[in-house]
């Protein structure tokens, strides 16, 4: 049963003989704003004609009985068999996993390479072997309802960057049904009766409820990403470099985060029903799982801010990636920008300095008079700073860092600038903040604060795959914004995530000359002073709102007095009437 895979286009696809291969995999370029997939209208189950191929990948380790059940469920799917393959990735099972009798037609078994182990490796081994258009992760202790794969796949036919998540309920555990029972129940559309005591994952259900099923979850939607039953286009998976093979736990959360940075939209489909046999490890040993994962994830996911509270240390993935162009800039200007970026209250930052570093001669040279002296000095200064790196061209993107700031040399960040930019961007989940620095005859010079996910998605939507970054090496003069490609991608980002212009002063960005020195504890008191200023500002607005409140209360008071007056008047009238009657 191994090595079957998909049939070649010549013999397959009786459903779409007219479609050449390109058309077969073509998916409309739909634009989804933030994570609100509400504009997509998936067809009803059983009423549409699928084209895309799906590779179901099941990582497995010493779980033959559970795997038999899972494969039995998969054997009873409504999704066309010729468009589906199953890849079981055996992670060093002893005895080795085997493909049972009841299983989908195209089922293969692959093994994690010798000397490798763990869920990360298992997933990646399965992904490497997958030949479909879409990869559908399924855990080995899952039973999928008959329309489960079809429910996932209808979304992938509408959107090329969808990550679809099935709706999983958990059984209380104990002895599960046999593979035969599973097959016949699923086949008879009656699987529910096998698991009548199952319950949803409480936390997940709460998030779905709060966020209209993730439509309002914004950039945090990836946090629901798990490997239990989730599907993703293979191109998207490969573009983020696949699964992190060093992880045996939390590999799905890490993958979800990186997919989010690549522009993915996360869609939970309640029609993709499935049951997890027994409670998950998280449910049984939540504290221990967290204790473990929270030692791994802070390096990988800068977005989990509560895991990065240390004031000084460095982490693998920076929160903000600052790009400073050293070409045609003085040593002092570059230094002012880089130093200020490293001295802020937001510490998990990395700086890339762009310059023709390979042009720096290595041989004997006059130290004070060499032609690229300023560049040399920059190199000298940051050679051993771990947060600074050097490149010839600005990197195409900053993924998986969620934000990038392109800062023209000679402009310095305030202690809180990065923190404020992040806060501003997060407030409305903007994709782009442009900071107006100064203005010359040729236009406005700006610093650009970009959301990685927004630009990645804009590239997917606009289809040329090109990023705006790097095409404007100075990152500054936008004199004629209509003429270049930047404005196109910026326009798409604006549609998808929104964008905003702010003044330099508002976010504490100044020229190198005006900037406060970054020596000693200044970062702290600069942050203090900035905070006080902000507090004063917010107090001012509080005064304003209190004034409005006073006004409202005054009006209310007047109204009440009026009512009081009328009330007493009524009494007077009625008394008068009474008197009139009696007298």
């Amino acid at each position: 049963m191994t090595g079957t895979g998909f049939a070649t286009p010549d013999t397959a696809s009786p459903t779409s003989p007219a479609h050449p291969s390109d058309d077969r995999t073509a998916v409309p370029r739909a634009a989804v704003r933030h994570n609100d997939y509400g504009s997509l209208l998936p067809p009803d189950l059983g009423t549409w004609e699928p084209r895309l191929r799906v590779s179901v990948v099941i990582p497995a380790h010493d779980c033959q009985e559970a795997l038999d059940r899972t494969l039995a469920g998969l054997a009873a799917q409504t999704y066309p068999a010729h468009l589906m393959e199953v890849v079981v990735a055996d992670d060093g099972s002893d005895p080795q996993m085997r493909v049972p009798e009841i299983t989908p037609a195209n089922t293969r078994l692959v093994r994690v390479p010798e000397g490798r182990w763990g869920r990360g490796w298992a997933r990646q081994t399965g992904a490497t072997a997958a030949a479909g258009d879409i990869l559908h992760w399924v855990d080995s202790d899952m039973v999928l309802d008959t329309e489960h794969v079809e429910a996932h796949m209808r979304w992938h036919h509408l959107l090329s960057y969808a990550v679809v998540m099935g709706d999983v309920r958990f059984t209380p555990g104990g002895i599960g049904p046999s593979a035969d029972e599973v097959f016949s129940a699923v086949n008879a559309r009656d699987a529910e009766k096998l698991f009548d005591e199952s319950t949803p994952h409480e936390w997940r259900a709460g998030v779905l409820e709060e966020t209209r099923w993730l439509r309002d979850a914004g950039t945090g939607a990836y946090r629901l990403h798990s490997g239990a039953t989730t599907s993703v286009p293979l191109t998207l998976l490969r573009s983020v470099g696949g699964v992190n093979t060093t992880l045996n736990m939390a590999e799905d959360t890490d993958l979800g985060f990186r997919l989010a940075q690549a522009g993915a939209v996360f869609i939970p489909d309640p029609r993709a029903r499935g049951w997890h046999l027994g409670p998950s490890t998280v449910m049984i040993r939540e504290k221990e799982v967290h204790r473990h994962n929270w030692s791994v994830l802070p390096d990988l996911i800068p977005d989990l801010r509560w895991l990065r509270t240390h004031p000084r240390r460095t982490w693998l993935v920076p929160y903000v990636h600052v790009v400073v162009d050293a070409r045609d800039a003085s040593y002092e200007d570059v230094r002012a920008s880089v130093d200020s970026a490293l001295a802020g209250t937001l510490v998990d930052v990395a700086v890339t300095v762009v310059g023709p570093w390979t042009d720096l001669p290595t041989g004997r040279r006059p130290s004070l008079d060499e032609p690229l002296l300023d560049l040399r000095l920059v190199r000298n200064l940051y050679a051993h700073e771990p947060r600074v790196s050097f490149t010839e061209e600005a990197p195409a993107d900053s993924a998986p860092a969620p934000f990038r700031l392109t800062l023209p040399a000679g402009w310095a960040l305030g202690a809180e600038s990065l923190a404020e930019l992040v806060e501003l961007a997060e407030r409305e989940e903007y994709g782009l903040l442009s900071v107006a620095l100064d203005e010359g005859p040729s236009g406005v010079r700006s610093a650009r604060f970009e959301r990685t996910a927004a630009f990645a998605r804009a590239a997917l939507v606009s289809g040329d795959g090109r990023r705006s970054l790097g095409s404007d090496p100075d990152g500054d003069i936008d004199g004629d914004i209509d003429s270049d490609i930047d404005s196109d991608i910026d326009g798409v980002v604006h549609e998808l995530f929104g964008s905003l212009w702010v003044g330099a002063a508002e976010v504490g960005v100044t020229t190198a000359g005006e900037a406060e020195p970054v020596a000693g504890d200044t970062a702290r008191w600069r942050a203090d002073s900035a905070r006080r200023k902000r507090e004063a500002e917010s107090l001012r607005s509080e005064v304003k709102s209190l004034r409005a409140e006073t006004e409202r209360l005054r009006a209310k008071n007047a109204r009440l007095e009026d009512e009081l007056r009328r009330g007493s008047l009524k009494k007077i009238i009625s008394t008068a009437r009474l008197r009139g009657k009696t007298g």
């Binding site: 107006a436 406005v444 330099a504 005054r554 009006a555 007047a558 109204r559 007056r565």
Partner: protein, 644 residues
């Protein structure tokens, strides 16, 4: 109310056995005041003491300043006393003390004591003592003026006479009005007929009017309030009252006007804190409720007061429920027209058949927008502006009397002062002016260092179809002086300084004229709420407070009474900062500057290369309500969104 009783008691105590007269306006019931012989100025006036009669003290008690203004139209009926008290129960919180401003005229020389105080918020009391008995009406009229910022109180047009109960509703704020007995005639004035047009409030069978044959004034009969209740209309034959009788409500002229000096868009709130309210009938009266609470209840007459408007400023909109209230259709129409004039965003699904008096456009506007649209602050304000424009123009006092037959007063004339150094902008600037509507104006185009023969200029002038005067000033003349030279050639009663590169909506000039008419300020303008930042291709909508007396308006929107302009000597002979200098001078001279809504104006903040901007671009990016990529004019600009 107890405040008023206390005032009357105190007056009686002071007067001892001498007579104390009490006049009331806008109080729903006189209540305890009746025991003191209080007379309702909104009631039957034929029984009032004669104006020549005297008293030890006269009190005028009004519910709001709006009611003071209505009473002031009857001021000549009031008797004489050496001591006059005018009390107002409630004023909006932003009103300042109504301090009388006596003129050096002989009639004010008897004033020996003046006290203006607030015995209790939000009431105001004016107490004036004189060395001899004087007509109490003068103090009443002066109090009305004091509430209105001391602008001359008048209704432009010939003298109007008011006869019958509640007739003053037809001409509030006009101390020059001529009160008359129900059957006439209007007392002569300096040997001539006392009025040119008479409005009389009558019952179903009006008594004859005496005097037309001899004096020739026109009379218009309108129904008294009692005739127009639904209960009365519902009786046998009542329908006739509405259909073709005296109660015809098919056209605007059939209902009393809105006192726009008192009920207007001032202090409009652009970002409201409350939800949508309901205007409906509660215990027989029109009431505005929001979230279960009553915000305000309207008088049976349906007249809207400054206090009513102030109480509902924080609501997002008002749904009108037209179902019958026993106060009748006329009261309903008055409430709706009054609220519309104040810019209260009104909505309803349909307008009933009997509401023709709204006028077709107002009826269309009220039904043109639904509640979800009001959720957007900008759309809400656009709706408000459309409503107030129509209501103020159609239902204002002056417009109403013209509809009733008064001769149409000539339109105010405006002279637009347009200075430019850039011949290429002349065409653009004149296009902004070509599309102005609803205003009569001329243009004084001052070419600063540009010859009129410049081809760009000549072409633009050739296609401009309004009166235009071209002034040439040489390069060396400073900007302020060029403007003054332009002003010297202007013939309008208003001067309006506009810029050559900003966008102006088609109602820009008429909106300024409107704001001038209701605000009482000598100088009116707008703030740059909308700015197009050409260098980054972004339109910003800035947080600004509008519709209030202010100390700053944009230089491209300075609209000034000619007399105020001349009083401060025009612009300073400086190359820059002249707008701020002018505004400072006006305020220093005791003038007022009013900032109206800014949706009809977009400031162009161009590239630094073409302009010396004192404000860095960051200034315009602060406190933004909203930003748009590209050129995004408000709907009222009636411009396309193509990048300019």
């Amino acid at each position: 109310m107890s405040l008023l009783i206390d005032l009357v008691r105190a007056a009686r105590e002071r007067a001892g056995k001498r007579r104390v007269l009490v006049y009331c306006a806008g109080l729903e019931t006189l209540g305890e005041l009746e025991a003191y012989g209080a007379m309702d100025l909104d009631g039957d006036l034929d029984g009032l003491p004669r104006a020549e009669e005297g008293a030890a003290e006269i009190l005028v008690l009004a519910r709001t300043a709006t009611d003071v203004r209505r009473a002031a139209s009857l001021q000549s009926l009031l008797a004489m006393a050496p001591r006059v008290v005018v009390a107002v129960l409630e004023t909006p919180h932003w009103y300042t003390a109504p301090v009388l401003s006596p003129t050096p005229a002989h009639r004010w020389r008897a004033l020996v004591e003046l006290r203006v105080h607030q015995p209790k918020q939000p009431a105001w009391v004016v107490e004036a003592g004189f060395s001899k008995p004087v007509p109490a009406g003068r103090t009443l009229a002066a109090t009305a003026r004091a509430f209105g910022g001391h602008r001359m109180d008048a209704v432009a047009g010939p003298v109007g006479a008011l006869a019958g109960p509640g007739a003053a509703h037809w001409r509030p704020g006009d101390p020059n009005a001529a009160p008359a007995p129900l059957t006439g005639p209007v007392p002569d004035r300096f040997g001539a007929r006392g009025a040119d047009l008479v409005v009389r409030t009558v019952g179903e069978e009006p008594p004859p009017w005496s005097g037309v044959e001899t004096t020739g004034e026109t009379t218009v009969d309108r129904p008294v309030a009692e005739l127009m209740t639904w209960e009365r209309l519902g009786r046998p034959g009542g329908g006739k009252i509405l259909e073709n009788g005296i109660g015809d409500l098919s056209e605007p002229w059939t209902i009393p006007p809105v006192d726009s000096r008192s009920v207007n868009p001032m202090n409009f709130v652009t970002v409201p804190t409350l939800g949508t309210a309901d205007l409906s009938s509660e215990s027989g009266r029109w009431t505005i409720t929001c979230d279960g609470g009553t915000l305000t209840s309207f008088d049976a007459s349906g007249r809207v007061t400054d206090v009513d408007v102030s109480r509902i400023r924080q609501v997002r909109g008002v749904r009108v429920d037209w179902r019958h209230s026993h106060t009748g259709p006329a009261a309903a129409l008055r409430v709706v027209t009054g609220l519309a004039a104040a810019g209260v965003p009104l909505i309803c699904e349909t307008v009933p058949r009997w509401a023709g008096a709204l006028g077709p456009e107002l009826a269309r506007l009220i039904t043109s927008i639904d509640e979800p649209a009001l959720k957007d602050d900008l759309e809400r304000e656009e709706h408000s502006i459309r409503l107030r424009r129509e209501a103020l123009r159609l239902h204002g006092v002056r417009a109403r009397w013209e509809q009733l037959g008064a001769p149409v007063a000539p339109a105010a004339t405006v002279s637009v002062l347009l200075v430019t150094r850039r011949p290429e902008m002349v065409g653009f600037a004149l296009r902004q002016l070509s599309r102005q509507r609803g205003a009569t104006f001329e243009v004084i185009l001052a070419l600063h260092g540009v010859p009129a023969t410049h081809p760009g200029v000549a072409e633009a002038l050739a296609s401009f179809e309004r009166p235009i005067t071209v002034v040439e000033a040489d390069q060396q003349t400073v900007f302020g002086t060029v403007l003054n030279q332009a002003a010297a050639r202007a013939s309008g009663s208003f001067l309006l300084k506009m810029d050559d590169d900003d966008w102006y909506g088609p109602d820009f000039i008429s909106d300024l004229l409107l704001a001038h008419s209701y605000s009482g300020a000598q100088v009116v303008g707008m703030v740059p709420e909308f700015v197009y930042l050409a260098s980054i291709g972004v339109t910003v909508h800035r947080e600004q407070i509008t519709e209030q007396i202010t100390n700053f308006i944009a230089g491209g929107t300075i609209f000034s009474e000619r007399s105020a302009f001349e009083a401060v000597g025009g612009f300073r002979p400086l190359p820059g900062t002249i707008d701020a200098q002018f505004q400072h001078a006006v305020q220093a001279a005791g003038g007022q500057i009013y900032r109206t809504q800014g949706l009809g104006y977009i400031l162009r903040r161009g590239n630094v290369a073409n302009h010396t901007w004192r404000e860095p671009i960051g200034t315009f990016l602060r406190r933004n309500k909203r930003q748009w990529r590209g050129f995004r004019p408000s709907a009222l600009m009636e411009l396309s969104t193509e990048t300019p």
